[in-house]
Structures are given as structure tokens and as C-alpha cells.
Symmetry: C2
Subunit: 596 residues, 2 copies
């Protein structure tokens, strides 16, 4: 099946030139994160992703997960691969040393996660969810809970889940699962949950579920929801595994994609009740769950990038190998590989340029998360935090929408064979199709962006980002190199459209949220395009600077051309989006529900 | 599963107000095609599509086609439905009376075909291909061939195929299947063909393959390819079925979508050779096959519309039924159906407005095909033919790309349940994914458009269309109704961008095809958006006019609002596309193959 070649050169360029890894290495505890260490970690992760994970992706899709004897059975080879993943210490890469982690910066971990996702999103999801569960327990779990569960969750020996949705409703406020206090201070849970990713599987001996439930007598609505840790297998005081808890996977969903990921309907408390341990305080469950969801949202954005990179590589390989037609305007009538056809080149560059733009923006965001957590200066921390919160809907929403489009384009490059499942290109589209939905749909992200991050904020946070964008644009437009000036001109238009859109949204917000929300989808796309274009502008400047000492570098030369393509083909969409945001909400809101 | 409600009101509006059905009814032989007859045919077809075909779509997808005892076995219920389809005379709707047809205009048949595709593209494909085969035999088949095969192919008792592709290459010039002359004037074929849609099935007793092959001693390349009619079962002189021919389905492809369509690898002449009858003259096979491909291209465009309509209806039903969240800026804290959320409304209107725009453009094209075939005035015929040829790549390329996007958006409206196969929304995306590929990829369409229809033509044909667009824009901009003026303003910008793009392409074409071809993909989209926007402008004018005598019509009122939405959210993309066409080819062409 298709090979995966880790994009190490671009990742190092992004880390060193755009995400300022040297500044991250100056943060407390991150002193070891030198460029050399980063390179070594990326190389090692690249070997693991390409040699161990990537080969499982297609076979896992074909075999899928089956419920056997009441337990999901993972596809062939997955257990061995996951055991090697744990043995190599990958799940603990960015965890603190005192919990058995390697304490590497998040910015490096993000690049590594992109590779797991390129290898296989179905595989990467398991550690993604476990990291989220670890974060919640670390933040809100009692010392006893932490001591008993965290070490083996951090190491990956046990995995974690997020257990939210119930059959009757998608609103969290409608949670009906009951939790009853037991004499020993634990609780007994009863309820059915759906869409539980890796809810049960045979890769590890224990799964720790973080379950939303309602304690008897709790207030109605979202303020009466608590969070419980519910292990699949009870853990004795000495840490050994005890009895099976009253928890089981009832069925596995038949999904469009992610066939190797068990998405379970879970029954808690079919019998005497599932033993659960309260996380934090009663009735604060949603607050804790949001910790998990926030980290998961960024991680799902990285799924968009990882999938897109894999789809791109497969399309590129096919375009180089597949001979069809003669070159239009070429000098001979010999048949050529389809990469010589202009429209195929355009599709490949559309994929490549957007992937590199997303990777750059993701790295800059991840670096800001590290700064927001560890910088000594509270003002610097706050500024980074504001940037991260503003951009999070873009990372979740725009990276995944773009990844979905790129996966579909990958099939298109293949032509007819792309529609045949054996080829493997179709799987990327099927897998990508959930990324714009889970952990909050693109529409939910857009509402969060326009409502909380722009409207209620009065546009302050984004104003600070636009100042930074304008500086890059000025550097580009005053540059000696014509390609860079052209990129600067497109960035200038994009920023202008963004400013006009923000002004319109902030103004309309004062009169009520509806018009702004009617433009929220196009605005999320606009901010994504312009923010990633800003990073492509920085990339072009950095590449030009580095070319002075490395004039023969193809990587740097074509990086500038990739940025130019991005400006002409992606940033150029900003005018249309601006119009839809500023003038397009009337029809949307005036339409009667019956007239659709 | 999901219901399908034929969009009869919009179809009649389009036929009567935009496609000028009364002028078609004035053409020779079409006198019966009055609005009343059209309404009756649409209603009857709507009943068949919704009650007989639509219920088979999801079950057919789940069951799929299996090879049993060397023959593909269709899913349960398909044979009965197809028998009723033939019995009701639907395959012969637009065929001439002397061949047993009903001789109804193509513009009416196109609306009916949209409904078959909404019911099930997998089902509609069978008669689509048969009609293509009929067209070729009618045009190029000998009287004997016509007499023996046409009547039962026209009626649908037997079906037809297009047999082009071979395992070793996608270029038609590389056809290797051999045809040897036999003593009785027939030929014996030997070769393997792939991707043969409905290559074999158990719905009818005979399948007539139109096969490209090379007669011994023929010239190399495309000029040595002939076309043969190769029946699955030989037909005796008295018309009865004789022996099974040396033709069989070797395997069925496992595809992303269209699971109910048998896509076969076919072996011709495993034994003594498959008996084939030359169609037309030797070595003119490609010319005849293009007759089939041209009609098939428009028909595949209709698949894009039909699929999009079905996906829209399903998303709309879900959005009305699914209660989640409170209305932002609403007056109560009650939970509401998600159709109340602005971004969901935006998605639904994005789907609806583009479907209605495509339907209008398709009908206008189909009417032009009728005019090009039958108008008494040769100048009028030529003008219509030039319009049809110009727009055909848009019908094939843009309708299907738009349909694909709409099918994907339909999943998005569903959220998580859209990813579950049982829901049925995912199937529309899987099925739509081939429509941008088969019968010539979007890239091939774009190359045809920019090369043959714009570049070599020097922009004359499109210039004539732009004059017609400008008239509609002028009527809109001078209108008393502000909504119509707003639509006119967007159309004006769109036409301006189209003119600039055409000028740039025509100019650059003189220096060689590459820069224009590098912009061909965006140009196909731009022409699609603006041409369909032109029809939406006409729709708004017609709706406004009709409102004078029917002021309470919700259909007409919301038609104008739908056109307004199209202007603000779809036509507004024109500026970005123009930039990509005019300025975006440099990076595409300068990139080195190795640097991707």
C-alpha cells in the first residue's frame, strides 16, 4: 500500500523559523528542546509512523473492528503496534517527568502527532483521547485517583475515553445517566452512552472512562452534571487489576470511515451499577470535560493536517507514475506522467500549499500554548493565551474542512482508480469526513469564534493579531524580491477583507447575535485563510533570508513559490468571503423554516 | 429510510419560465409537449422515482452486487423495479416514435432524469448507458444492426454498455483488444476490459456491449480503433435469443460508492472469440464513441443535480426534526430544531440555491439541444449548438463538483449521525464521488473548455453568451425591487470577472496553451457560477413578474430570496477565481516535478 514519507524538512523549517523553537527551549524545564533534539525526535517518530503505523491503516480499514464474545476485537497487527508504541514511550512524550513523561514541549509533540495521524488517524485517536483523559485527571482528580490511574494512563498501558453523548439527545444538559453514592464514597452509575470512541478494545488490559452523569438530587440542566472515572476493570489497593466493572460495549457503529476505531454504544450499570469515582467536585463535570475537549479540538485539527499530508503524498506518487496523454504545448508527442498536466499540478499545489500553511499555523499555535503555560511574564502568557483561544476554532474547524477538501482532491488526482477501495485514496476521504464533526462541528466552532472570541470581545484579541499580520505584510511589500511583493499584495488584500469583516461583525453584534452568526461559517474560513497566509508570508521571508547562505536549496526556492501559489489561489478567496459575511446574512435569516 | 419529494413546482417554473417550453413545443414533432402534458409527465415520473426507485437506493447500497456462479446478482427488489420501469415506457421517453418511443423533448426528459438520479444514481445509470448505446447505433449502426437490436434497447428490454478502458492504460489510443474478421462478415474479439458499468447483471436477458477494438492490420494509435456491437447473448435471425456469446464478467470492483452498480472486469473471447458486429466503418470507432460520451456527459451532470437534491432533502428533514441547543438571540430558552441555527440555515440555503441554479442552467441547455436539433432556421440551430458545446464541460464538471460538495454538506448538517452508514447521508457522498471522474474528469472538462471552446475559438462563443448575460444584468439593475438590484450588482461583478478571465485566457493562448490550462480548473468553476447566476437572475425577474398576478405565492417570494442568497454567497466567489486564472498560473508551471 501507499508509503508515507515524514515531511521532516518542512517540519524543522516550521519549528525553527516560524515557531521559534529556541524561545520555547528557554522556557522553564524545556532546556533540552534544542534543534538537534527536535530533529532526533522527529526522525525517530517519522520512522515509527512510516514503518509501524502507516502499514496498518489500509488493512485496519478493510478488516475493521468486530464485536466478538461481547468485546471489540481490533484488526490484525494493531495490538503489536500499540505495544511497541507504549514501549517506545511515545504516549508520554509531553507529559511531566514526575509522571513518567519526557516533558518535551507541546510544539514538538504537535509535529509528532501530525505524523501519527498521517500514519493512521484511527490509530492516533487512541492516544489522543487518552491524553485528554490524563489532562482532566491531572487537573481535577484527587491525589488518590491520580496515584492509582495516572501513571499507567500516561505511559499508555491503560487508555482513556470521553463519555458524553446519550441516545436521546445531543445536548449535554439532557444527560440522564444516574450516579448514586455508595457507602465507601464511590458511586454506582446506570445509563447508556453512544458514540464512545475506543470505548472498549483488546489493545490494553484496562480502559478508564470519564463519564458525565447526574448525582441523585442534583440541579437540572448543565449545572447538575458531574464527572466520574469509571474503569473497565476495577483496580485493587495494591494497583493490581481486580474484578470486571459493570461496564460493557453493547454494539459497534457501522461508520463511513475510521473502520479500525471501535465506536461503541456502552452500557454502564446493567447489573448492580458501574463503580465510578467522582472527579473533582459534584456538579462541575462539564467544566472538567471542557478541559478535555479543548485539548482534543487542537488535536483533531492536527488530524486534518496529517490526513491531508498522507492524501497529498499518495496523489503525488500517482501523478508521477501514471502516464496518460501528451503534454499540451510540449515539444514531443510522447505520453507523459500526469504531473505534467497543468490542472494536475494545480491540484497538487493546492494540496501542498494549504498543508504547509496549516502546519505553520498549527506550530505557531502550539508554541503559543507552551508560552501561555510557562512564560515567566504574566502579560506575555496572557497575550499568548488570548491568541490560542482566538485561533482554536480555526484549528479545529478550518484545518479539518481543508483536510477534508484535500482528501477529496486526492481521489480526483487518481481519476477512476481513486474510486476503487483497493487503491486506498478513498479511505482518506471517508476518515476525514468525521473530523469536521466530532469534538464540535465546524458550525459550533464558528459560533464560538464569532460569538465569544469576536463579538463579546469587541474584536480586541483579533485586533492584536492583525497588527502582527500587518507587520509581515509590510516586510513583504517592501521586499526586493518580486515574488515576495506579490505575496505581500495578496496578504494585504486578505487582511483588509478580514478587517472589514471584523468591523461588520462587531458592529452587528451589538444589535443581537443573529446576523453575525449567519456569517460565522464564512468568517471562520476567512480567518483561517488569512492567518495561515500570514504564516506563509513569514515562511517566504524566512526562506528568502536563508537562501542568502544556502543559495542552492531547492526546498527554500520552492517554499517561496508554494507561498506565492497560496497567495494567488487561496488568499484570493478573501474578497468573496468578506462579501458573504458583510452582505450575506439577510437571505439566511429572512427565509421561513417552511420555505426551505 | 429517507423520503424523496419530487421538486415539481421548481421544475415547472424552470421549464415554463426559463427554458421556454412553449418554444420547444413549437418545434416539429413536439406539438404535444404542452405545459399540461409536461406537468402530467413530471408528476408521473415523480411518483415512480419516489415510490419505486428511491426506496431501493439505501438497501441496494447495503446489499451491493455479488458475483454468483460467474454472473453479477443485483440486490433484492431491483429486478422488479426495473421491470416496472420498462413496462411503464420510461426508457423510451424521448426516443422517436418510429423506434417505439414517445418522442418527448429532451428538456422534459432532462427533468425526468434528474428524478431518477434523486431516486438512485445506481439505478439511473443503467438507462443512462443504454440511451448512449442507442444513440450510437441510431447514428452509425447498419440497418441490420438497428433492426435486430434497437427496438429492444430503446424499450429497455435489453441494456447497453460502453466498453473502453483496458487494464494496461487509460489512453484510448492504447487499446489492445483484437478483432479478427470472420467468414460471415462478423468479427471475433479477444481482450480484457475494465471499469465496465453494468457490464453484466440479471435485470434483463441481454446486454449489448459497444466495444472499442483494433482490427488486424489497423493503423497504430487512435486512428486504428473500431467499434463493435457485442451482445451477451447472440440473437437469431428471427429475433429469438440464441447461444451465450464468449463474453463474461470476471470480477466486480469494490468501490467507494455505487455499490448497487456492477462495475465489471469483462473478458471478451476467452475461448473461440466473442462474436462482434462492426458499427459503421472500420477505424472510426472513437468518433462514434464520442457521440455516446457527449450525451453521457450531460447525463452525468444531471446525476450531480439529482444527488444534490436528495442530499438536500435529507438534510432539510433532519434540520427540521433534530432539536438541539437554544436559539441565539431568541426570546426563550427552549430548545429548538437546528434549522433555527443561523449556520445550519446558511448550509441549507447554500445547498438549495446552488441546486436551483444548476437545475435552471441544465434546463436551458437541454432546451438548446432540442433547438439545435430541430429548429427550422440553420442560424438559430448553430447558435444553440455553439451554446451547448460551450457549456457542456460546465454541465459535466461544475454540476458534479457542486453536487459532490452538497452531498458532503448534507453529512455536515447531520453532525455525528451523518457519519453512521445507517443514516444514509454518507451514501450520497460516496456515490457522488465518482461523478466528477467518470465520462471525463473535471480536469478533462476544463481542458476542453479552455482549449477548444475558448482558446481556439478566440472567445467568440462565450462572447455571445456574455451579451445575453449583460441584458439580464441590465434588467436587474434597473429594477424597482431592491432585492433584484442587489442580485444585478452581484451578477455585474461576476460577468466582469468572467470577461477579464476570458480576455486573459484568449490572449495567453496565443503564446501557447500552458498558462491558460493552468487556470482551466478555476475558469470552469467561474463560468459555472456566473452562467448559473445568470439563470438565477432570470429566475428572480420571472418570479417578480409572476408575483404581480399571484402576490401570495411563497414559492415566488422565496425564489427571489434564494437568488439573492446565490448572489451573495456563490457569485461572490468570482473575484477570487478571476485572480487565480489571471495571475495564478506562474507558480503552477514553474514548479519542478521533483519539488512537489
Amino acid at each position: 500500500m501507499s508509503q508515507y514519507t515524514p515531511p521532516l524538512q518542512d517540519m524543522q523549517f516550521v519549528l525553527n523559523e516560524l515557531a521559534d523553537l529556541h524561545e520555547i527551549a528557554a522556557l522553564p524545564g524545556y532546556g533540552e528542546a534544542t534543534p538537534d533534539l527536535a530533529r532526533a525526535v522527529l526522525e525517530e517518530a517519522g520512522v515509527f509512523a512510516s514503518e509501524v503505523i502507516a502499514p496498518l491503516n489500509h488493512s485496519g480499514d478493510i478488516e475493521g473492528v468486530r464485536l466478538e464474545g461481547g468485546a471489540p476485537r481490533m484488526p490484525a497487527g494493531w495490538a503489536q503496534a500499540y505495544a511497541r508504541f507504549v514501549e517506545a514511550g511515545w504516549p508520554a512524550l509531553s507529559a511531566p517527568e514526575e509522571q513518567g513523561g519526557q516533558n518535551l514541549p507541546g510544539v514538538l509533540a504537535a509535529a509528532v502527532e501530525e505524523m501519527w495521524n498521517s500514519g493512521s488517524v484511527a490509530f492516533g485517536l487512541l492516544s489522543l483521547l487518552s491524553r485528554g483523559a490524563v489532562n482532566v485527571l491531572r487537573h481535577a482528580g484527587s491525589p488518590e485517583l491520580q496515584q492509582r490511574y495516572l501513571p499507567r494512563m500516561v505511559s499508555g498501558e491503560w487508555t482513556g475515553t470521553m463519555v458524553l453523548t446519550e441516545p436521546q439527545a445531543g445536548c449535554l444538559s439532557a444527560v440522564r445517566t444516574r450516579a448514586t453514592r455508595a457507602a465507601d464514597g464511590s458511586y454506582r452509575l446506570h445509563g447508556t452512552k453512544i458514540f464512545i470512541t475506543y470505548g472498549d478494545h483488546d489493545l490494553v488490559p484496562n480502559v478508564v472512562h470519564l463519564v458525565l452523569a447526574r448525582v441523585e438530587g442534583a440541579p437540572a440542566g448543565t449545572k447538575g452534571i458531574s464527572l466520574f472515572a469509571v474503569p473497565k476493570v476495577l483496580v485493587n489497593e495494591d494497583g493490581s487489576l481486580g474484578e470486571h466493572n459493570d461496564v460493557r460495549a453493547v454494539s459497534i457503529e457501522r461508520k463511513l470511515g475510521l473502520h479500525a476505531t471501535p465506536t461503541c454504544v456502552m452500557a454502564f450499570g446493567d447489573g448492580a451499577g458501574a463503580v465510578g469515582y467522582l472527579v473533582g467536585e459534584e456538579n462541575r463535570g462539564l467544566e472538567y470535560m471542557f478541559i478535555m475537549m479543548n485539548s482534543a479540538r487542537f488535536a483533531v485539527g492536527l488530524e486534518g493536517i496529517g490526513l491531508a499530508e498522507r492524501a497529498y503524498q499518495k496523489a503525488r506518487a500517482y501523478a508521477r507514475e501514471r502516464v496518460q496523454g501528451v503534454e499540451q504545448g510540449g515539444e514531443t508527442s510522447a505520453k507523459v506522467a500526469i504531473i505534467r498536466h497543468p490542472d494536475v499540478r494545480r491540484m497538487l499545489l493546492s494540496m501542498k500549499s494549504r498543508i504547509e500553511a496549516m502546519r505553520a499555523l498549527a506550530a505557531v499555535m502550539a508554541a503559543s500554548m507552551d508560552q501561555a503555560a510557562l512564560n515567566q511574564d504574566p502579560e506575555v502568557r496572557d497575550a499568548h493565551q488570548a491568541f490560542v483561544e482566538l485561533m482554536m476554532p480555526v484549528a479545529k474547524g478550518w484545518f479539518t474542512e481543508t483536510g477534508l477538501d484535500i482528501a477529496s482532491m486526492g481521489i480526483q488526482v487518481h481519476g477512476g482508480v481513486g474510486f476503487i477501495e483497493e487503491t486506498g485514496a478513498a479511505q482518506y476521504l471517508r476518515d476525514a469526513r468525521i473530523t469536521t464533526i466530532y469534538e464540535g462541528t465546524t458550525g459550533i466552532q464558528a459560533m464560538d469564534l464569532v460569538g465569544r472570541k469576536i463579538g463579546r470581545d469587541g474584536g480586541r484579541a483579533i485586533g492584536a493579531v492583525i497588527v502582527r499580520m500587518r507587520q509581515v505584510q509590510a516586510d513583504l511589500e517592501s521586499h526586493a524580491h518580486a515574488e515576495l511583493r506579490a505575496i505581500g499584495a495578496q496578504l494585504n488584500k486578505g487582511i483588509g477583507d478580514l478587517e472589514a469583516a471584523v468591523e461588520s461583525l462587531v458592529k452587528s453584534w451589538e444589535g443581537g447575535p443573529k446576523p453575525a452568526l449567519a456569517g460565522s461559517g464564512p468568517f471562520l474560513e476567512l480567518l483561517g485563510i488569512v492567518a495561515a497566509g500570514w504564516q506563509m508570508g513569514r515562511a517566504a521571508l524566512a526562506a528568502d533570508r536563508l537562501l542568502a547562505s544556502d543559495p542552492g536549496s531547492d526546498f527554500l526556492t520552492y517554499k517561496i513559490l508554494t507561498c506565492r501559489f497560496y497567495g494567488d489561489h487561496v488568499l484570493s478567496k478573501s474578497a468573496g468571503l468578506r462579501h458573504a459575511i458583510v452582505s450575506g446574512s439577510g437571505a439566511t435569516l429572512e427565509f421561513s423554516d417552511a420555505a426551505f
